[in-house]
């Protein structure tokens, strides 16, 4: 009994000193709580559907950021991973009769394979060349999808896929838990040694090579990781919508992902996630103004970019937090001195 109390007290102290200290961490906690407790507040199928889809796209956008934000490999064909994951999960589920908890990871592995296939030619390409080449891959895949309609269902896609679970609420929880879990993993990756190397590759690849690190391996690792997470979101999408069609490979989807990520702020994992949760419900909410929905969406994106070109969440975070000049720890911006090293914050 006393031991449990001890650990609980420890948890409370950690919470008070680590989490409550920074507003951004408080926001993250609130976000987690909001997502997890939403079904308790509302059982409306439509709202749960919006948030489930938002979670799936958030996972996709975060995986894009891992590749293009951190490693700097601008990927304009992210729909490829999404589509391969969706089609892979659909085909495996339909033909091998494996239930969703098996077909989704296997679909994601197909997406990883796709990541390798496109990563290898892209190793020597830089900047805009890389962006435009990656744009080409989903289009080639759509051509292949139409060339083999027997296997892929042509423009109708594959339908009749098994459901994720029996009820909308269970679907929602599966997706949200996966989102939160996988994004935490992504966050941890970017915080680790591998993450530092990703940052370094983006900043100056030649210097990294000069330091003796095998950038090829790390770049391919980034492609594969990104492909894996995007493939999972693709598989979830296929099982949630119960149909996987060429709309999962469209150029407009690739563009949307890039918009979400840059809007929220690249080189952060939370930026794209937040952006999706703001923009996607906003797009749905604007349905009452049907004719101007997409126009409003594009205008909002354009205006935000004019004033916050680094991304919305980066800008917000810079407004509420300050970095200590001496120890580089983040502090809430209302403080005068750093909470760790007591250096004056200006």
């Amino acid at each position: 009994m006393g031991l449990i109390l001890f650990y609980v007290k420890k948890l409370i102290i950690i919470f008070k000193n680590e989490v409550l200290v920074l507003p951004s961490r408080v926001v993250v906690v609130f976000f987690f709580l909001f997502l997890l407790l939403l079904p308790v507040v509302t059982k409306d199928d439509y709202i749960l559907r919006i948030f489930t889809l938002a979670s799936i796209f958030a996972l996709l956008a975060a995986s894009w950021d891992l590749l293009s934000g951190f490693t700097g490999q601008m990927n304009f064909g992210h729909a490829l991973f999404f589509g391969v994951g969706a089609y892979g999960a659909a085909l495996i589920n339909l033909h091998a009769n494996i239930p969703p908890w098996g077909s989704i990871p296997l679909g994601a592995l197909c997406a990883v394979l796709a990541g390798l296939i496109i990563g290898i030619p892209c190793l020597r390409l830089k900047g805009t060349y890389l962006a435009l080449t990656t744009l080409a891959f989903p289009i080639i895949l759509i051509g292949l999808v139409f060339a083999f309609p027997g296997l892929s269902g042509g423009e109708l896609g594959i339908s009749g896929i098994a459901r994720l679970s029996q009820s909308r609420v269970a679907d929602y929880y599966i997706v949200v838990v996966l989102l939160l879990g996988l994004c935490t993993i992504m966050w941890k990756i970017t915080d680790s040694n591998t993450g530092i190397i990703f940052h370094a590759i983006r900043e100056d690849e030649v210097a990294v090579r000069a330091a003796g690190i095998n950038t090829t391996r790390y770049k391919l690792l980034a492609f594969c990781l990104s492909g894996f997470f995007a493939g999972i979101s693709g598989g979830l999408y296929a099982h949630f919508m119960r149909i996987a069609g060429p709309s999962t490979l469209e150029v407009s989807l690739s563009f949307q992902v890039v918009i979400y990520a840059v809007f929220g702020g690249i080189v952060t994992i939370y930026g794209p996630i937040g952006a999706v949760f703001i923009l996607f419900p906003m797009l749905e909410f604007l349905r009452f103004w049907q004719d101007y929905r997409t126009l409003m969406f594009a205008c909002v994106v354009l205006l935000i970019l004019l004033y916050m070109p680094d991304g919305l969440f980066r800008w917000l975070r810079d407004k509420i937090e300050k970095e200590c000049p001496r120890c580089k720890i983040r502090n809430i911006s209302t403080r005068d001195t750093c909470r760790v090293c007591t250096a004056p914050l200006d």
């Binding site: 199928d45 309609p149 423009e155 109708l156 896609g157 339908s159 069609g245 709309s247």
Partner: protein, 438 residues
């Protein structure tokens, strides 16, 4: 009781009364959701047909449901299905959970309708599909009746019949050609857009055409959204084809007709060209789309039965153009849903389903009878044939869209002969007649 209790009791009675009054007032309406690509001709057709139906019914006081008359309230939902299938499913879900509609009509793009159908079936709402022709939508009904029984196809008849009917059109054109130009063996170039619905026709055509005494000159599969088909047209001309058998549902129908007309290719285009069904086709091809034939449903002057003219003329008076087949949401509501609701006396979906699937009723384009599959299971699909629904084939003649088939047509040698009022003879392009009548 003391004063407070009395007051509470009075308040309770009044609120109860008010509540029941409210539900009574609200319950006076039947909400019908119209879902389609509202920025495009197909969705506009969905909406216009439904508006016409609702106004007509509401003018008479509404639909008789049991003892009360309930008016129709239409709810529009833009599925945006051409651009985004996710959007379409969101729109359907919103229609059902937020707008709380009782019945749904519409849908066009098969990939989206398959997903939208799932949602409506889950929520046990009757969904009448007015645009998607894929057989799978109705095969699902037979495979899993209890889940999918709420789906009915309103229009068009499914793609296997669509293809079959085009072969009848082809036969009619071939007969005219043989008579006027005395060509011994007619060559047919098959041009089908690269789409799944068109895939089965290539083997079907390769098999059927020789039996009809014609030769296949070649098969071309342009992209459904191709804008320049001069390459294909040169090759077709070189193959010496007399008939171009087209299967276009997407925008490629326009440049194909226009460029073929501009290049004066000596062959007549017949088959399915969805763009050629619309009155805007003339402008879209800059007037070069003459003599193009296509399967169609409505045309000015063509009469199927006594319901056709009031509908077509009423639609033209209200909206300024001839209705396309997606405007059959009108028929779905006025002749399909409304009488079934009156007969059932309730809006209960299960009761409505059992009535709808058995009824045989007239609509402006023929007679609706829902078919069963080979094992006797319900398909909720439209029966094709003389006496039911056959559609027509229209041709652009001198800038006007006129009906040219069925003209003294017999489906089988034993069937009755069918000619609708308003059908005119097929015209061959003059440059073709000039070239062959040497």
């Amino acid at each position: 009781m003391n004063k407070l209790n009395k007051r509470i009791f009075l308040l309770a009675m009044v609120s109860l009364f008010a509540l029941s009054f409210c539900t009574l007032v609200f319950a006076q309406e039947i909400k019908i959701g119209v879902i389609g690509p509202m920025k495009f001709v197909q969705g506009i057709g969905h909406w216009n047909g439904a508006v016409m139906a609702a106004e007509q019914i509401n003018d008479k006081g509404g639909i008789q449901v049991g003892a009360a008359k309930m008016k129709i309230k239409l709810v529009q939902a833009d599925s945006n299905e051409f651009l985004n299938v996710t959007d379409a499913t969101n729109a359907m879900e919103r229609l059902i959970t937020n707008d709380k509609v009782d019945l749904i009509v519409g849908g066009f793009r098969t990939e989206a309708v398959l997903a939208m159908q799932d949602i409506a079936m889950e929520k046990k709402k009757i969904f009448i599909g007015c645009g998607a022709a894929h057989p799978e939508l109705c095969l699902r009904v037979a495979k899993n009746y209890n889940t999918y029984k709420y789906f009915f196809r309103g229009t068009p008849f499914n793609s296997t019949y669509l293809v079959k009917s085009t072969f009848f059109h082809l036969g009619a054109v071939a007969a005219v050609m043989k008579k006027q130009l005395k060509i011994p063996k007619i060559k047919v170039a098959i041009v089908a857009e690269k789409a799944v619905w068109a895939d089965p026709l290539i083997p079907a055509a390769n098999e059927t055409l020789p039996k009809m005494g014609m030769e296949v000159a070649g098969v071309w599969r342009p992209s459904p959204v191709a804008t320049d088909v001069t390459a294909e047209l040169s090759a077709i001309q070189r193959s010496g084809a007399h008939i171009i058998f087209t299967f276009f549902s997407s925008s490629v129908g326009i440049p194909f007709a226009r460029q073929a007309g501009e290049l004066k290719i000596p062959a007549i285009q017949i088959g399915i060209n969805v763009e050629a069904q619309k009155e805007g086709f003339w402008q879209a091809t800059q007037g070069k789309g003459d003599y193009v034939m296509s399967s169609n449903t409505y045309s000015r002057g063509v009469v199927y039965n006594e319901l056709t003219m009031p509908f077509v003329n009423g639609y033209i008076a209200k909206f300024g153009e001839v209705p396309t087949y997606t405007a059959d949401t009108y028929a779905a509501i006025v002749y399909g849903l409304a009488p079934s609701i009156t007969q059932a006396g309730t809006l209960d979906a299960d009761k409505l389903v059992s009535i709808l699937e058995e009824r045989v009723y007239d609509v402006p384009s023929g007679t609706v009878k829902y078919m069963k599959d080979a094992e006797g299971k319900h398909l909720h699909d439209l029966t094709f044939g003389p006496g039911n629904i056959t559609g027509i084939s229209t041709q652009w003649q001198n800038g006007k869209l006129v009906g040219v088939w069925p003209n003294k047509w017999k489906m089988t040698p034993e069937s009755p002969e069918v000619t609708h009022k308003g059908i005119v003879p097929i015209m061959l392009p003059p440059w073709m007649t000039k070239m062959y009548k040497k």
